[in-house]
Symmetry: C2
């Protein structure tokens, strides 16, 4: 018999995907260049040339038996060593290779981290607005995802709501900073307070509460800022990283998990990831990509376009009169819709060939997300259309 | 709290790994070339040059945004199409792209297949001798792996034992042909009978019993034979394939799952795999490798060395007086030990610098596995040592 649990999931269709399909249909009629598709969070800048060069060099020069051979269960030691060194230098940490577990991007890192620190029935708390894929990531482990209502002012953390929801069943807290969909970076103040609450509650409940930090946008921070490194604030932190956005390699499924060395179970957790991997059929990311990214750890794609797009959109949206928090990073912006029902709002926008995503599934009804990982020229052409839409439909 | 289920697994150490470690230690003393290490099933012939050429061409010529972009959840359509076409031409099947799901090699294919057709508490039957990793693959889904005792004469299927063990809880049967560790290929007769039993029992129990066919060694068959294509014999078959052995790419984690189009739930199962993937954090194998293997589907590494090694070892072992079934393929041979306790036997062999793996964990106590994916020159040098060991210790 086929498994009902997964068959039932087939009915539910992603809002984002449905919108993207509509946009694609419309593109066939009026041309792709005339559809202002802000729906998909796909990097729009190429991988840096240094990455391609390293890949070609490895393929040309390295013995294929060694290059394409099995990675050890816990990852290639030289790669783990380089990742630890890079994190230590950039963020003042003291990781060793034994704290690093290479994964098939952040989705896989989260899958391992969640299984390592939760048991079926446990609760995992996350904060709205949140990436909707957290639901399958968490729910299919047997743990339960609970969403803490948003801090609607600044999209930091609503601590009042958070403290009400924490309870003895809370095994982990899952955060995402810089945040998809708000673009906001959690401040040092937010992270300090979060750590204080978690430490206090871990003591009260008599068990550790782990902080799982999903960091695929870590390098995409604007105004020459750097985001505070989450793990520095709380010992029991598992950082989940992906090169998908930093190197514009979303299809290559490469990233890692790093457990804070100050976590008493750090090395055990990494070893357990090797066992979890057997159960979910991962067996490490590809050897070639492990070796390649390890050569370009401190490089990124050119994010200038994202910052430019952020500036153009933020200025235009505030000028029109949208309520919107200025994003610190990522390639998302998260304004309040001009009517209560963001689904209706986005539906109307579609008639202007503006593809916007209503934020109901992100845990913030009434808001919408724009993914501005598109050409700046297109952003520029979309601005008068945005103004026209707001004026004609909402009198703004 | 960290998950006890996985922490407990850390205690158990793989026999193969322990042996490999001992071999590595010994190699430090007497030199790697003097340790006859038959423990590890790692391809010992390089990836074909055409694969490397395709990879370099893709990296040089293709737009990096397209090349490294997200794969659709169900795999890259052009890749699925090519895989279907190749299988249809080679095995007279009628797959469409909707029946193919690219995976991170066979481990991932098995992970998806098992989750698609079992629920927690269900039983999965496999036949000794079997690949010990089936235990974590199955057990960590919540289903239970049951091992049918071996057909000790020919390492085909012990149908008497099989029929006794089938019951209403049997959701799937997991086979591996060409077989690790026996090297035997299931005959058309075996597969026909297996299909008959499964069809009869599915009817009796009123639910489908799925056949999950693990086929990483499919292309490594000797004497110019071809193995019968399992899925042709039984409609409810899910084939799990890997390029790890065929193209000598074990570290690159690339393969696929193919559901027989005659299975009434075929397309649904593939769609469900997309949902399973979200839960276990796979999100498809890497885009680059999907595109690359699709260009070399009908190529393999040169397996001449494996066949030559098989011949040398089979001849020598039978000449010494070992009881052994001649392998039809893979790079394994599976003789009966010269004493009842194969662990003791392998321990004694180690004193002759022969690294052999006792088959207790493969479900065949008293036997041992030799993985002859090593240089032929080394096999040749090992033969007099094998003879000396058998003579001095067992008077053979």
């Amino acid at each position: 018999m086929i498994a009902e649990q997964y068959r039932e999931m087939l009915g539910a269709k992603s809002v984002i995907r449905t919108l993207a399909e509509k946009a694609a249909e419309r593109a066939k009629v009026i041309g792709r260049e005339n559809v202002f598709d802000y729906s998909l969070g796909n990097p729009s800048v190429p991988a840096p040339q240094c990455f391609t060069d390293v890949m070609i060099r490895l393929l040309k020069e390295k013995d294929p038996m060694e290059l394409h051979g099995y990675s050890p269960t816990l990852g290639i030691p030289s790669v783990k060593e380089k990742i630890a060194k890079s994190l230590n230098e950039r963020f003042g940490m003291n990781y060793g290779p034994e704290h690093i577990f290479p994964t098939s991007a952040a989705a896989s890192a989260l899958s391992h981290a969640l299984r390592a620190v939760t048991a079926p029935g446990d609760e995992v708390l996350t904060f709205a607005p949140f990436f909707p894929e957290y639901h399958p990531y968490v729910d299919l482990t047997g743990a339960v995802l609970k969403v803490v209502p948003a801090d609607m002012k600044a999209f930091q953390i609503n601590f009042e709501a958070f403290e009400t929801m924490l309870n003895e069943k809370t095994a982990a807290v899952l955060i995402n900073t810089p945040n998809n969909p708000s673009g906001v970076v959690y401040s040092a103040q937010t992270l300090t307070k979060l750590a204080e609450v978690l430490t206090k509650k871990s003591g009260e409940y008599g068990h550790d509460i782990f902080l799982i930090s999903d960091e695929p946008y870590r390098e995409i921070v604007f105004d020459k800022k750097q985001q505070p490194y989450v793990s520095k604030f709380y010992a029991n932190t598992i950082s989940c990283y992906s090169f998908s956005k930093a190197l514009s390699l979303p299809g290559e499924r490469i990233g890692y998990l790093a457990v804070n060395p100050a976590c008493p179970d750090a090395a055990t957790i990494v070893n357990m990831c090797g066992q979890i991997s057997r159960g979910i059929g991962h067996n490490c990311p590809t050897s070639l990509l492990q070796l390649a990214v390890a050569e370009v750890l401190d490089q990124t794609s050119d994010f200038g376009i994202y910052e430019k797009n952020r500036n153009l959109l933020y200025e235009c949206l505030t000028d029109i009169g949208f309520e919107v928090v200025k994003p610190d990073g990522t390639f998302y912006i998260f304004p309040k819709a001009l009517e209560e029902d963001a689904v209706a709002f986005c539906q109307k926008a579609l008639e202007y060939d503006l593809v916007l995503v209503p934020a109901d599934t992100f845990g913030c009804p009434g808001y919408f997300r724009m993914a501005y990982c598109i050409d700046t020229e297109k952003v520029e052409r979309s601005l008068p259309v945005l103004r026209k839409f707001a004026k004609e439909v909402y009198g703004k």
